[in-house]
């Protein structure tokens, strides 16, 4: 009944195994990306925890009573504590005291803390509770950033268990761009902005892979349809042919960048609206929505990055004989598109070791993602430097492409994997 089945199966397997696209998509990518993801996640969680433990916790003791001393002694057993007296939270922020202690959060024991504690613990007036104010600097970054502010609650809960249930409560506030936003928990804010730190990298991954596939076909299609040879013998400058092809991809890149910006803006707007119904947090009021300059820089960053990817795809397609081959070759670039996007979803680039940081900055496709994270904090220098780097990268790529088009290599260059290239004598 299944005569010939094995023959067909063996032939199909041979074809599949020998197809570079299958090899990349189903074997190489999972083998590279999943272990890298594991390392990244492990490293991210570890770094966040270590930093939270290592950091000096500033305590503003504006109470001065016995109970505040007891509390400080309790947390000093586990944390590296520095106590300051007679200073307001606003002064800590405006005098940049946190930088001196290399810290990103502080707590204030407000006046009346000890009195409330005494009334609750000694006087039995259980309705009266004491509050400790926690202030954390909003860092943007990845999923595991801003983990420190929530970890402080563990010590407060421990203190309650030792003294009396539910006697001390915390009130969380966030420091955004040097301003204290009372009542906003940095961890909650990070959670709310999670979609922002995931959406753009994923959108960019999809956009880059799609547009690179399209660009790769531009030269490969000419080769496959056998139109390139004719085109190269007409009286037209070779550079014009290249620029004509690249310009069409520039238009595609421009439209794609605008589309992403519109979608991104709508997405941030949706988050703000959602929050308005849930509570008093408004990203616009907090200054966590990019300014028009921020949007413009992000748009430019997206545009030049797309352009560099498309130019690279055009060059690579010149080394293949047909569309299928070009798409397979472009597939080899996917790891350098996927890895920075996935890494930057989880991590703040500033917390990475220098070598990893250098690799991420060297990959042009990291820059729009980094830009999307820092523009909300108004750090435009990083974005502008990124744009300059990617532009130089693109110019170099385009120069190489123009050299390739000027010679017979555009017809004779071939990249083959697994076997030596053969050139036709006729």
């Amino acid at each position: 009944m299944l005569r010939g089945f094995m023959t067909i199966l063996v032939k199909e397997l041979k074809e599949l195994v020998r197809d570079p696209k299958i090899l990349i998509g189903m074997i190489v990518l999972p083998l590279v990306i999943l272990p890298v993801m594991g390392l990244v996640l492990g490293y991210a969680a570890e770094t966040a925890q270590e930093e939270a433990q290592k950091a000096t916790l500033l305590v503003l003791n504006n109470d001065g009573g016995n109970w505040s001393e007891t509390f400080i002694s309790y947390i000093s057993a586990s944390l590296n504590v520095a106590v300051l007296n007679d200073i307001t939270p606003q002064e800590v922020v405006s005098q940049d005291v946190l930088t001196k202690y290399n810290s990103t959060q502080f707590v204030e024991i407000p006046s009346g803390f000890s009195q409330n504690m005494s009334q609750h613990v000694d006087g039995g007036e259980f309705a009266i509770t004491a509050t400790i104010k926690v202030y954390g600097v909003f860092q943007g970054g990845g999923i595991f950033s801003n983990i420190g502010s929530s970890s402080f609650n563990i010590f407060v809960n421990g203190f309650n268990r030792a003294i009396a249930p539910d006697v001390v409560y915390t009130s969380q506030s966030t420091i955004i761009k040097g301003e204290i936003q009372e009542g906003i928990d940095p961890a909650t804010l990070s959670g709310l902005l999670l979609s922002q730190s995931i959406a753009l990298p994923i959108t960019l991954m999809i956009m880059l892979t799609y547009s690179m596939q399209i660009a790769a076909t531009s030269v490969a299609m000419e080769k496959e349809e056998k139109t390139l040879e004719t085109l190269l013998t007409v009286p037209v400058d070779r550079f014009s042919i290249l620029m004509g092809k690249l310009s069409s991809t520039i238009i595609v890149a421009g439209v794609a960048a605008v589309t992403v910006m519109v979608g991104y803006n709508y997405m941030l707007g949706s988050i703000t609206l959602g929050l308005e119904t849930a509570g008093p947090i408004d990203l616009v009021e907090l200054g966590l929505v990019p300014s028009p300059i921020g949007y413009a820089l992000l748009g430019i960053s997206l545009f030049v990055t797309l352009l560099s990817a498309l130019a690279l795809a055009v060059i690579i397609s010149a080394f293949s004989e047909d569309v299928r081959g070009a798409q397979a070759l472009v597939g080899y670039l996917y790891p350098i598109v996927f890895i920075p996007a996935l890494v930057l979803i989880y991590l703040d680039v500033n917390t990475l070791p220098q070598a990893v940081k250098a690799i991420l900055y060297a990959i042009p496709y990291s820059h729009p993602i980094i830009a999307s994270k820092v523009i909300v904090l108004g750090e435009y220098t990083t974005v502008i430097l990124g744009i300059i780097y990617v532009t130089i990268f693109t110019i170099v790529i385009m120069y190489i492409a123009s050299r390739l088009f000027a010679t017979e290599k555009i017809l004779t260059a071939k990249l083959k994997f697994g076997r030596r290239s053969k050139k036709k004598a006729e």
């Binding site: 056998k226 040879e229 004719t230 007409v234 009286p235 017979e408 017809l411 050139k423």
Partner: protein, 243 residues
């Protein structure tokens, strides 16, 4: 009057393969010159060098006294090249394809219009020129491409296997186009072919090429007499020592 094409000791090396090995020949202005030989003899490589697509490893070619490497841009203005496996853009109509290609060689709208009209006449495709080229048969596509190659009235038309793979009627049409067009407009033609009958019918002179060298050159009738052969196939077999 100088030569239309003068190839001087052409050598082309692709890695370890020597595709051309000191090739020498001349084509007179206004003649149809045929380059014939087996697969891998170096025909396409020769045509590609003359058409400025690739550069020789050594030696040089002059096209109407212009060097194909140093003056490639000027050479491209006076030649027209039809590759053996040329295609057209599948999503353009025949008319759009002709217009696209004609724009590179014309300077005014009027000239463009006349050139396209000429191409339509040469191709004989009439109403089908409005259809996308992906709907064309192989023969129709080749007629379109031959029309494209000749419509600009180049000084030199380089045609690689102009009628290969076509059925009898399409092949006949293509050969008639070449023959009549050259007579009327004085275009010099260099063509390569496997088809000895085609070469005998079309060409004023022929050169037999083998292993990257011209082995014999002359008029078809003279060669047949010289080698006491019935046809050019026999001449070729005798020249290369096969018969």
């Amino acid at each position: 009057m100088g030569f239309a094409v003068e190839a001087k000791a052409l050598v082309k090396q692709f890695g370890n393969i020597r595709a051309l090995n000191g090739l020498i020949f001349q084509i007179k202005q206004g003649e149809i010159f045929g380059l014939i030989g087996p697969n891998g003899a170096g025909k396409t490589t020769t045509l590609r060098i003359i058409s400025t697509l690739i550069v020789p490893t050594s030696g040089n070619v002059e096209v109407f006294n212009l060097d194909s490497v140093k003056q490639a841009a000027q050479v491209r203005k006076i030649i027209s090249y039809l590759p053996e496996e040329a295609g057209a853009y599948p999503n353009l109509s025949g008319n759009e394809y002709l217009e696209f290609m004609a724009k590179f060689n014309t300077k005014s709208k009027n000239e463009l219009h006349e050139t396209i009209k000429e191409a339509a006449k040469i191709s004989g495709l009439e109403e089908r020129l409005r259809d996308k080229t992906k709907t064309y048969s192989k023969g129709m596509k080749r007629r379109l491409l031959v029309a494209r190659a000749l419509m600009t009235r180049p000084k030199l038309a380089v045609l690689d296997e102009p009628a290969s793979g076509l059925d009898v009627l399409h092949a006949y049409h293509v050969r008639e186009i070449i023959k009549t067009y050259v007579k009327h407009h004085g275009v010099t033609v260099l063509l390569s072919s496997h088809n000895m009958l085609e070469v005998e019918y079309l060409c004023d002179r022929i050169a037999l090429i083998d292993k990257g060298k011209i082995v014999v050159e002359g008029k078809a009738d003279d060669l047949k007499k010289k080698y006491q052969s019935e046809n050019l196939e026999e001449v070729f077999a005798k020249v290369v020592g096969y018969a």
